[in-house]
């Protein structure tokens, strides 16, 4: 297990290096950071001085080494917009996004397992058809629209919940719900279909022949067997939420997390802040994958990744 973790960490480090190289290449080679960050009216001298200040006058190789050194010390430069270290902004906003994701995805995970299992018990039955239809509906509605719909109903019409912003726990409800919808639908579908498959496996017949109660068969035997595919999808949902859905949902609800900050950084041409956000998210994704691999190995003894 120890060597397995070391091996995964080593692979993770390689991925992070790849990400750094890509970020570096995209910002330095395919665009001009100086004209991106300075106003159009800046003079040639000002541009030159700025390029020198951020080290753009050096050869690319030297720039890359410096860039890596900066990454290693989490020094992403100063945010032009906020006038303070970019990483400070990221660490200030990240917990807010994690709180939103934790609530939304936690809700989706808690609900998807019982819903999927109920549907799988009687495939084609009334509950199954209801859950499948609701799931399809959930999958087909884009989040920006669901968000607006929820605001119209619960905030504007019923005046039950705040429209946007952050402050009380009530502010969390609508954005978390919007974020949860797609993962909830997809995870429920997965639990349903893999549970139907699993209940037809021969080992389930063996357990039934032991005379164990059906609930124990579900809880102890089949649930564990669908856990690998479930966690694979749940991990993927976490990653897409972190790197995509939050941008939309935080924008709709003006939730001041990392996603909204990313949008603002792009609008303001704040290259250093953007880099910091991309890098931290990439790092989180690599970490999530390592944790998932370790958990998989704990669930299924047949997995051998060495």
């Amino acid at each position: 297990m120890g060597s397995f973790i070391v091996c995964r960490l080593w692979h993770g480090l390689l991925v992070v290096l790849g990400v750094s190289f890509t970020v570096f290449a995209v910002t330095r080679l395919f665009g001009d950071p100086v004209s991106l960050m300075l106003p159009l009216s800046a003079s040639a001298e000002q541009r030159m001085a700025f390029a020198q200040e951020i080290g753009l006058d050096q050869p690319l190789f030297v720039q890359f080494i410096r860039f890596l050194g900066d990454l290693a010390t989490f020094d992403f430069g100063e945010s032009l917009w906020q006038r303070r270290p970019a990483i400070e902004v990221v660490f200030e906003r990240l917990p807010l996004t994690l709180m939103l994701i934790g609530t939304g995805l936690g809700f989706a995970i808690l609900l998807s397992i019982p819903l999927g299992m109920i549907a799988a018990l009687r495939p084609g039955g009334f509950l199954d058809r209801f859950i499948v239809s609701a799931g399809l509906l959930g999958l087909s509605m884009p989040q920006f629209w669901v968000g607006l719909l929820l605001i119209v109903v619960f905030s504007v019409q019923l005046k039950l919940l705040p429209t946007s912003g952050m402050g009380t726990p009530l502010h969390l409800v609508l954005p978390a719900l919007t974020l949860a919808l797609t993962p909830l639908a997809r995870l429920t579908m997965l639990v349903r279909s893999s549970m139907i498959d699993e209940l037809n496996q021969h080992y389930v017949r063996t357990v039934r022949a032991k005379g164990l109660p059906f609930t124990r068969i579900l809880r102890v035997h089949t649930l564990r067997n669908i856990l690998i595919s479930y966690m694979t999808l749940a991990g993927w949902e976490l990653i897409t939420t972190l790197a995509g859905y939050t941008v939309v949902v935080e924008t709709v609800f003006a939730w001041p997390g990392l996603g909204l900050t990313a949008v603002q950084a792009i609008q303001r041409g704040d290259l250093f802040l953007m880099q910091a956000i991309v890098f931290v998210i990439a790092l989180l994704i690599v970490l999530i994958n390592i944790v998932l691999d370790i958990v998989f190995k704990m669930i299924d003894p047949r997995i051998n990744l060495n």
Partner: protein, 339 residues
């Protein structure tokens, strides 16, 4: 065997139907069996004849689209069917009646250790603690002939070979000291040498524990070797039941006769083995009368009505012409016809 004592298991006129798109499939119909303490009943027949379905019905393993639609299954005189029987059945299943299956490779939960899987039934039925169940599981693994049983407890099924897994299945089945073991083709998926070992193990356990066994197989050699009584199934019905010696010596039903003749023997002098022409009938809306009629060489008009169970040399034979030598007559007829 001990016909005076009350039977352990009685299956009485059992019928199981499966709903399919093409119609209702009558998997088994009018199946009646009796198993006494300590005896071995062989259930033979070709694939699809309803052997496994009968066993699964006894174990309550029929699930939709299948359903038990008639008859009764009784354990020590009490029904296992119906809403009332279901509760009783759950206490009997796994404790008094245990079952092992054809495919040991897929019949174990891949994510649970061997020790936990063996201990599970004991913890549920006998109220064993984890430690007790583990200790007993180790003994059982030794009893079924696995080497280093203590080490096996923490192994997972994928670390064991097919023969070893079937031994684990057997250890699991006998863990609560059942009175009846249903073995559904326990050796079909195994190598020939391992097959013999597993059958020997079953025979030894039967002697030591006084187990009754229902052995489902299509291997007549196995039946002759270890069974006391045989029930022959064809197209979802039992066509002949009786003592193993009688049936091998003097089969009463044309199907049984054909089956025995199509089995090679060391003393056999024939150049070619006989085969029964035709295929078993479809089980969707079956014709009334004897299901074997289309393939039977001595079928008569009376066969269009369901035959009663005729007594023939101590066996019960469902045939209007029980005991008639179907195949030599048939062969003569075929020769006359110039075939």
């Amino acid at each position: 065997m001990s016909a005076q004592t009350a039977p352990l298991l009685e299956v009485d006129g059992l019928r199981v139907d499966f709903a399919s798109r093409a119609g209702l499939v009558q998997a088994i119909n009018e199946v009646s069996l009796v198993v006494h303490k300590g005896e071995t009943l062989g259930l033979v027949g070709e694939s699809g004849s309803g052997k496994s379905v009968s066993a699964q019905a006894v174990m309550g393993l029929i699930s939709p689209p299948g359903a038990i639609t008639g008859g009764d299954v009784r354990w020590c005189g009490t029904s296992l069917l119906g809403r009332k029987g279901e509760r009783y059945a759950r206490s009997v299943r796994g404790k008094n009646i245990a079952m092992i299956f054809q495919d040991p490779m897929t019949s174990l939960n891949p994510l649970m250790t061997v020790g936990d899987q063996i201990g599970e039934a004991m913890r549920y039925h006998l109220g064993f603690t984890h430690v007790q169940a583990r200790r007993r599981a180790e003994e059982l693994l030794g009893a079924v002939g696995l080497s280093a049983p203590a080490r096996r407890l923490d192994q997972y099924p994928h670390e064991l070979s097919g023969g070893m897994r079937q031994r684990v299945m057997i250890a699991m089945a006998i863990s609560c000291e059942p009175e009846l073991l249903i073995a559904d083709e326990p050796t079909t998926a195994l190598d020939v040498t391992i097959q013999a070992q597993i059958l020997e193990l079953l025979a030894r356990l039967q002697k030591e524990l006084g187990l009754a066994i229902i052995l489902i197989t299509h291997d007549l050699g196995v039946v002759a070797g270890i069974c006391n009584r045989v029930a022959v199934m064809y197209a979802g019905r039992i066509v002949e039941t009786g003592d193993v010696d009688t049936i091998f010596e003097d089969p009463g039903h044309p199907y049984t006769q054909g089956l025995l003749r199509s089995t090679p023997s060391l003393e056999g002098t024939e150049d070619t083995l006989m085969s029964i022409d035709g295929i078993p009938p479809r089980l969707i809306d079956p014709q009334p009368g004897c299901p074997f009629l289309p393939r039977c060489p001595i079928g008569v008009d009376a066969c269009r009505q369901a035959p009663p169970a005729e007594a023939w040399k101590g066996s019960a034979v469902r045939c209007w012409k029980a005991g008639a030598d179907a195949w030599s007559m048939g062969a003569t007829r075929a020769q006359e016809a110039g075939l």
